[in-house]
């Protein structure tokens, strides 16, 4: 390239740059000044390690926003989704959350799958007095006034599950999980339940995240002959574990894996044949028969492809947007702040795909736990459905501590 050409093209780039920058700025400020739409942040990783799951949450939440907009928005105002990609990195979550809350003036941000990313956003949302909608099941032991927890906490997943498993299979539990906070807290709560119902732990074992060779674990299971494998293995580790468990020909009718983390997404990768006969505990399964769920699944499939699956986290990512909308509708349009949205959301009832849910004053959600058995077609058959909506107790394993509407109360 000649020097003159180079300078010429450089000049062209420079000019477009200068032209476009003010245009961007003015459009942003105009939009806010008009005030005819409501900015909401979407903070799900679209790239990086957790994108596999988080992109489905992003899809579900975005679909809900567009459904609401297509139906006329809230008080005639449209929701304006502002999408950030934190690239699976907790520090980036905090950074992008700050950007959404300060620069884009979002009144709420929907995001996160892992606990690590939620905890990275936590100081930001608390400092900005904003509202972070977190759809994932998690280990509990958190009681922020600036996070809306849409997923199950240990007591919601386990209170029905543990006595049912003891009754149907026996009292000897083998705990296997990945080595991080979620499995440890779940096992912690499981142990208190086992004590209560006369069960016992034959082995408690943690493998590194991403661990993929389970032959030692399977040998140990074979030697110990437990009645139930209580699994909190996540993601690819769970896929490898399930496939090797199946390859070792351990019989699910004698030694079933009862998982808190295995959803339709994992089962699709495991293959229906290897997953069949094992169990999961979750408030939602794709095959659940409610009109709301049929509508959700159909809309999701027609939008993102017929081979896509919905699961217990994407369901929550979807219904949380509707909870947000219902809270906005209760408010005076002139008085929309994250805190008024939060206060309006408490006590709110909503027909979600899983059933009618309720927001507790501790900002967690009352859910309908179910126990499903996986079938060869990759779907779960719901065997046990909770008779009543189960209240969230994020500190169930810790006596004397309760999460209330005023935050954490220690006795």
């Amino acid at each position: 390239m000649k020097r003159r050409d180079f300078l010429g093209s450089l000049g062209a780039v420079g000019t477009t740059g200068m032209l476009s920058t003010p245009a961007l700025l003015s459009s942003a400020s105009r939009a806010f000044a008009q005030g005819n739409d409501i900015p909401v942040g979407l903070l799900f990783s679209l790239t990086g390690a957790v994108a596999v799951v988080e992109s489905t949450l992003h899809d579900a939440a975005l679909m809900a926003i567009e459904e609401i907009n297509a139906a006329g928005g809230v008080h005639g105002r449209q929701l304006r989704p502002i999408i950030e990609d934190p690239a699976s990195d907790p520090a980036t979550y905090a950074d992008r959350a700050r950007r959404l809350m300060i620069r884009d003036k979002c009144v709420s941000v929907f995001g996160s799958y892992t606990s690590a990313s939620r905890q990275a956003v936590l100081p930001v949302t608390e400092q900005r007095k904003n509202l972070y909608w977190y759809p994932t099941l998690y280990e509990g032991r958190e009681c922020s006034r600036n996070v809306m927890y849409g997923g199950a906490v240990p007591n919601q997943q386990q209170d029905d599950l543990i006595p049912w498993a003891i009754e149907n299979f026996g009292p000897r539990f083998y705990m296997i999980g990945n080595n991080y906070v979620y499995p440890k807290e779940e096992n912690n709560y499981c142990k208190t339940l086992l004590e209560q119902y006369g069960g016992e732990v034959v082995n408690e074992e943690y493998v590194p995240l991403g661990h993929s060779d389970f032959s030692s674990v399977i040998n140990r299971i074979r030697a110990e002959k437990p009645d139930v494998i209580f699994a909190t293995v996540v993601g690819d580790s769970d896929v490898a574990f399930a496939r090797q468990y199946h390859a070792a020909e351990l019989d699910p009718s004698k030694m079933p894996v009862v998982s808190l983390t295995r959803s339709e997404v994992e089962v699709k990768a495991i293959g229906g044949e290897a997953a069949a006969g094992h169990f999961s505990s979750a408030p939602y399964f794709m095959g659940h028969a409610t009109p709301e769920n049929e509508k959700f699944v159909e809309a999701y499939k027609s939008r993102y492809g017929g081979d896509q699956v919905t699961h217990f986290v994407s369901e929550a990512a979807y219904f949380q947007v509707y909870q947000f909308k219902a809270a906005l509708e209760k408010l005076d349009p002139a008085n929309i702040t994250p805190e008024t949205i939060r206060d309006a959301a408490v006590g709110l009832r909503l027909n979600a795909p899983q059933g009618e849910i309720l927001v507790d004053e501790n900002l967690h959600t009352h859910l309908w736990p179910k126990i499903g058995q996986w079938q060869a077609n990759g779907q779960a058959e719901v065997l046990v459905e909770s008779k009543e909506r189960i209240a969230p107790k994020p500190y169930a394993a810790y006596e004397g501590q309760t999460c209330t509407g005023q935050g954490l109360v220690k006795a």
Binding site: S212, D236, A248
Partner: protein, 289 residues
């Protein structure tokens, strides 16, 4: 006792997978001195090739193996021709270049195929277990063990009993002199690199029924492969085999005595100790460079 026997088998099975992954690297790194950080991605490509052949063409893993070998070898050959070949005199730069190639391959698969875990069905004839007394062995794992030994033997034959192997060994010992004798070192290197990549591809295809097939699956595997090659000694096939058995069995024993997390730490600590006292690995080859 039962547990120990089963655990020894588990260790052997781990060793066979390690060997399959490390063999290609042992050749590329050991013979050519190229630190190929894209090796894990070749393994991943093999896994995806097996998936694609099964999903779109409908052939099972076993029949797919030759196609997987060829297709990944072609990718390796292109990588060698386009990038690595220009860097033989700058070994440190190959680290960066192959690392970059690895990222490109990984992201290409992520964008092209998708990030979610893919399902590959294992071969039907190899389902089930073989039981000898208390010892329960998965047929598929047995097959991988036998297959890895066969590949090791074939590679050994190739290196020591063929004209190509003789030329390769000559080039390894002294590239300049062997070129004087009419050996086309460039071509030898290309073929060797492609062969190593093809072996990685086979390893990837073989582990799909056991592991989860995702774009990032190679990242962890390449670390294990390097451990094997370094412990075994550069360029030594027998060393790689011995090292993979050693690491596989040590992992299995430690994980049953302590647990998987601490077992991994113990194995790595053991390797550091071993490298301290045998810096060139278990079976260093005596070559002049």
């Amino acid at each position: 006792m039962d547990v120990i026997a089963n655990q020894l088998f588990a260790g052997l099975s781990m060793a066979s997978i390690l060997l399959m992954i490390a063999l290609g690297l042992a050749i590329i790194y050991g013979a050519m001195g190229v630190i190929n950080l894209a090796h894990g991605e070749f393994v991943m490509l093999g896994a995806y090739a097996a998936w694609a052949l099964q999903t779109y063409v409908g052939i099972g893993i076993l029949l797919a193996l030759p196609f997987v070998f060829i297709s990944v070898a072609v990718v390796g050959w292109i990588v060698e021709k386009v990038v690595v070949q220009n860097l033989y005199h700058r070994p440190l730069d190959t680290i960066l270049a192959t690392w970059g190639i690895g990222i490109i391959l990984q992201q290409t698969v992520r964008l092209g195929v998708g990030a979610e875990s893919r399902f590959v069905k294992g071969p039907d004839i190899l389902t089930g277990n073989t039981e000898i007394g208390p010892l329960i062995m998965s047929n598929y794992r047995l097959f991988v063990i036998v297959f890895s030994i066969a590949v090791l033997a074939a590679t050994w034959m190739l290196m020591t009993r063929t004209e190509f192997g003789m030329k390769l060994r000559a080039v390894i010992q002294n590239r300049g002199i062997s070129e004087c004798y009419g050996i086309e070192a460039k071509r030898i290197y290309s073929i060797t690199f492609a062969y190593g990549a093809g072996l990685a591809g086979i390893a990837g295809a073989l582990i799909t029924p056991l592991f989860s097939t995702i774009p990032t699956m190679g990242t962890g595997l390449v670390v294990d492969a390097f451990l094997v090659v370094i412990v075994g000694g550069l360029g030594s096939l027998i060393g790689s085999a011995a090292a993979s058995v050693l690491i596989g069995e040590a992992t299995a024993i430690f994980s049953i005595v302590i647990n998987d997390t601490l077992g991994r730490i113990a194995v790595l600590a053991g390797i550091i100790l071993l490298i301290r006292f045998r810096p060139r690995g278990l079976f260093p080859t005596e070559t002049r460079r």
